[in-house]
Symmetry: C2
């Protein structure tokens, strides 16, 4: 049966095949979308007799993965399974078959074949990691009617486009407890992300215990750091999910924390190093002219690298502006002696020393794209991050690195802390239309979403990572032609709530913050505001990096808001439809939102006010004024001059930032206002 | 000023004093209510200049406590503090002064004096623990007007009634990850609970790593256990919060997990011991006639006790029905040889051997009240738990133990897993009206709420512990005469949402479950149902202990419901007011609820159904029918015979359990129905 359909599809040509895939992507909410999916007509019923049988050599990953699968399936369906644990080498309902237990590295085979018939389900894979990927796909396939849950009968043949599909979490600017890391690892695995890049040190804190240099955590972490046992626990947890862990110790810049503990390694004499409380780029930098710097790093890396079995080790290397280097006579002399023309060459010298240390320890050096300098050995991995914001071409260093023979990973375009839309990130392709030869292509390992944490806390981090990172994960896994934004959004909304099932807090913590802001009053009116406001983008929220300190409150209205404000996305589309065609449906859609918001201030005004709520007063009031006028105008196809003035004034106010957010329906409101002005009698 | 007021109050007599306290307890939402509070007329403004100064020897507890205080205050108020860390020996806004850094034991002085004036705040205490208690009180005092947050100027002189104020968490029936334990420890500290009793082993799992007997975690935990490092981390975390940790290794019964790992210690030969998946009382029991049993326990205790610095060690000792003992010839011979007349005497023999082992290890044995047998040495601590449910007088063993010279702790009446109302638990006083002499009184150490975990998971446990345990904490801390239920409920509702601020999930996870049940549809109609339903009480939800397995789903409607259903509490009171006086206000209150519920089925019917939602169909439908009839009847002061019949049928259905819950407004609806029948024309 299956073969026939595939052959048919092949005969009918690839265009037909793509259309078939499109139809299925409207039907099934898989993310990332698989390479090939073929549909049959039957269903596999999920009932209490469902069992999982492992039919290969025992793998801790598959054993634990199967248990997680069973628990999640039971929770989603409410079916009371008789058997809560996998069995071995029996005829199960779900049979897992794999050839090898894989080491986690760039060669790991993650492909799998998932075949669902009415009577059984087989997942076959070359490696146990492929089985994990297949189980996630199977869970996403769960369907129901009014009486039963079932899996649709499909055959899925899947494999990733890129081998490096990562998420970086910065735990320095705001420390993230183990529980945060673990739940995010589970979320990552659910969308087939396979690299966790752990940004462990920065100016704001050194977050990993050193027994050799204990002052690092004692003086430079505020007590917020991971013990080595906790690190091992997380690495093992990630390994069981098929996720590699890449640690980053950021040097020689971003070193305020290290130098707080060991000032003798600093480039500036008699400088009062201290843990940084603000955000930004700071001057404290390790001194590359002192031998003790290399001794320190060698000892530290020797201590830390065994905790991380992965071959890659990230040394940062970014944003060193060299100011303290320029102010140091010894460093000037050192440059002369070693014929280093400028700070770039000095940093290359430093990087090459580190590369040798790491090589001795069996590790490959990875660094942000500033390390891409003429003399850098091609064994280094270039992590491309700079773009327009930094005055260079977006993702340019990725292609440059690949062409020069470096392995490379893209993060430019995936800076999720900038609070841009999912559409924006989804539209960035690591390679795009650039032609690369096979050798060059093989150097582009993939990409990483980066969660810098200046503005996120354990309470809000999930809402900054998810659900957008699921769409980025699809960009890294699925073929390049999977790029329909509307279809992605449809699937993403389902994936988002399934991430909540998994324990992520991105949905539920919005109301927690709103309850706290209102001191537990009825939050209905401020929920509606949060659904049309987004936190200020790029880095506008934290002006010059000094508006917020690391210990400031991030339990504010802006923290309850997120990118892709849910009502705004729908409303903006409805308005655009209405402006094209003013039929009854389009008009009704727009009016229903306008009515809700016209009423906002009536509800908001009833709240017992406090200093935090006060900042929303003007927003609520002007929103209601604007929507009230628009509603009346559309209903009466008329708008008075005085109403127009009121409307324009209200919109002008709504254009201003409010409580560190922007009102992202304001353009749609303005377009409606213009329409009213032009088309209705004034 | 202060002195004058106190003197005035004293002159005016204690009755006057109590009235003053009552007035203040309407004004301030403190819990537990303090011993003495005096109010002045000024306020301390909370602004960015607020600092905390520690003016005594450095205590890690106070240092960390002050940081937690500053973070929580910033999050609650949104005030951007300039200084995020405590300073030392400066004139701070808030000054912490204590005499000693305390060891945590029964002699720890937890008293404190909190004095707030317009210009500064002093917390003085004998010990650093007293400072922690005072900081929690101060946080609970946070007030606001529209423009500012402030602390009211009061003086509070506070100390606990009982030295042992505990919460037990069973992590065997359902394992609870470290993050769950830590957030609950923080919640405990916020209401001044000072004992965490950690029920680490039971038939369903052995949850602590043993290096001496590694099969315990390897074969008897499903991989869900705490490493010794994690245990140490939790104990240190608790110590910083001023909370003692009492481990429990439950023996000789409740031993299925231990015997799964080491069957040779069992009382029954050739028995296939395995981890228990159901709930209940099971037969697997350690063999007290074998010397290897004592060797095992001595080795295990020797390994485990150093992880827990507290002097008390809980050995369980409950619910051994002796069935396997009776079936064992060797044990029968052993009893004969040692002249042990029955299994009680055999268990006492066993307990006395354990008492000696523990004594050698510097520990005091504590056990459930079954250990209170004639020969038990009075060095043992009796944990009173049995009551009516077990066919004995409620709390009787507590008084018996105290009179016989045993230290004793009460849990009967505080079984929060039974899902009874907060009013029920709040009304249980450990001593009540029983007269005890000073010596006997000193033996009653206090009480413990017990969170048995047959029916709770990490997702739901907070909603089973909180907020009810805050009221129990007040019972243990405050004087006996603090017992007004309405006032407690008022304060508790504020404390409950402050627990959410602290990271507890008892409020937010309700909607998570409802979103999951509905697969992310509009949950409005099922939220309304969850606010009038409570999980079946006592142990009716898990009939005979076999309805649910440990790995069954607890992501169901009943898990979204909790004790003290919020709408039901209000509605039942409104109905009772209406039945007394049918004035406009009382009528309007009742009608507003009836209207909402009359409409429930219209909303519910719109949902795309699935097997989980189906179980709520009859509930929604009959609720709407009943409320519709009642609404019309009250509005028209008339009810037809046919409507009465419809109403009575609907109420009859609502009386039945639905999806493992009971509809707790059903009596109020019935009372309204009877009122309509009697007073309106039919």
């Amino acid at each position: 049966m299956k073969k026939i359909i595939i052959i048919l599809l092949l005969i009918q040509g690839s265009n037909q095949f793509i259309q078939a895939q499109d139809a299925l992507s409207n039907k099934y909410d898989l993310m990332p979308w698989p390479k090939e999916i073929t549909e049959y007509s039957s269903q596999f019923l999920i009932d209490e007799n469902l069992t999982v049988s492992i039919n290969s050599e025992k793998s801790e990953r598959v054993q634990k993965g199967a248990i997680r699968f069973l628990r999640r399936l039971a929770n989603r369906t409410g079916v009371f399974l008789n058997e809560g644990f996998p069995v071995y080498n029996e005829k199960g309902s779900i049979n897992l078959i794999y050839d090898t237990i894989s080491k986690l590295d760039l060669r790991t085979d993650e492909s799998y074949l998932l075949e669902i018939s009415a009577s059984k389900i087989d997942i076959t894979a070359k490696s146990d990691i492929g089985i994990l990927r297949g189980l996630e796909t199977l869970l996403q396939l769960t369907q129901h009617n009014t009486r039963n849950y079932y899996f649709p009968s499909v055959s899925i043949n899947d494999a990733p486009r890129f081998v490096w599909r990562g998420l970086m979490i910065d735990v320095s600017r705001h420390f993230q407890p183990i529980a945060v890391i673990k739940r995010n690892l589970e979320a990552m695995a659910s969308v087939k992300i396979n690299v966790f890049h752990w940004h462990l040190t920065d100016d704001q804190g050194f977050r990993i215990e050193s027994k050799v240099y204990p002052k690092l955590q004692e003086l430079a972490s505020d007590g917020l750091y991971y013990t080595q046992n906790q690190i091992k626990d997380v690495v093992a947890f990630a390994d069981n999910l098929g996720i590699r862990v890449i640690p980053e110790i950021d040097v020689p810049g971003h070193a305020s924390a290290i130098l707080t503990a060991y000032p003798e390694l600093g480039s500036k004499e008699n400088y009062n190093y201290s843990i940084e409380r603000f955000a930004g780029v700071f001057h404290p930098t390790l001194n590359p002219s002192k031998e003790i710097t290399y001794t320190f790093l060698e000892n530290l890396f020797t201590e830390i690298t065994p905790l991380f079995p992965d071959q890659y080790f990230h040394i940062g290397g970014d944003e060193n502006e060299g100011k303290h280097w320029d102010q140091n006579q010894e460093i000037a002399k050192f440059k002369d002696k070693h014929k280093l023309k400028n700070n770039h060459e000095l940093q290359t010298y430093f990087n090459i020393r580190l590369e040798k240390i790491l090589k001795k320890l069996g590790k490959k050096l990875m660094g942000w794209d500033e390390i891409l300098t003429p003399n850098m050995p091609t064994t280094a991995v270039i992590h491309s991050w700079r773009g327009e914001n930094e005055g260079v071409a977006n993702g340019g260093s990725l292609i440059e690195a690949a062409k020069k023979g470096y392995q490379t990973v893209l993060s430019n375009g995936y800076y999720i802390d900038r609070m841009l839309s999912v559409e924006h990130h989804y539209s960035v392709d690591p390679i795009g239309d650039i032609k690369l030869n096979k050798e060059e292509l093989s150097k582009v390992l993939g990409g990483e979403a980066t969660m810098w944490s200046e503005l996120v806390t354990p309470q809000t981090i999930d809402s900054r990572i998810w659900p957008r990172t699921a769409a980025i994960a699809e960009r890294f896994w699925s073929t390049k032609d999977v790029k329909d934004v509307d279809n992605m959004r449809k699937r993403l909304s389902k994936i988002s709530y399934q991430l909540e099932e998994l324990g992520l807090t991105h949905i539920k913590n919005r109301d927690v913050i709103l309850r706290s802001i209102s001191h537990n009053q009825n939050i209905n009116s401020i929920q509606d505001l949060a659904k049309i406001c987004e936190p200020l983008k790029i880095y506008a929220r934290n002006k010059d990096g000094i508006e917020y300190k690391t210990f400031s409150s991030f339990n504010l209205f802006a923290d309850a808001c997120s990118a892709d404000a849910e009502d705004a996305i729908v409303f903006n589309r409805k308005v655009s439809n209405f402006l094209k065609v003013q039929n009854r449906t389009n008009t009704a859609h727009v009016l229903s939102y306008l009515k809700k918001w016209a009423n906002n201030y009536t509800k908001f005004a009833k709240l017992d006010k406090n200093p935090k709520l006060n900042s929303l007063e003007e927003l609520s009031k002007n929103l209601s004024i604007a929507c009230n006028v628009l509603q009346n105008s559309i209903e009466n196809t008329a708008v008075s001059k005085s109403d127009l003035l009121k409307l324009q004034n209200a919109i002008a106010t709504l254009k201003l930032p409010v409580a560190d957010t922007e009102v992202v329906i304001v353009n749609a409101l303005e377009n409606l206002a213009n329409y009213c002005k032009t088309n209705y009698k004034n």
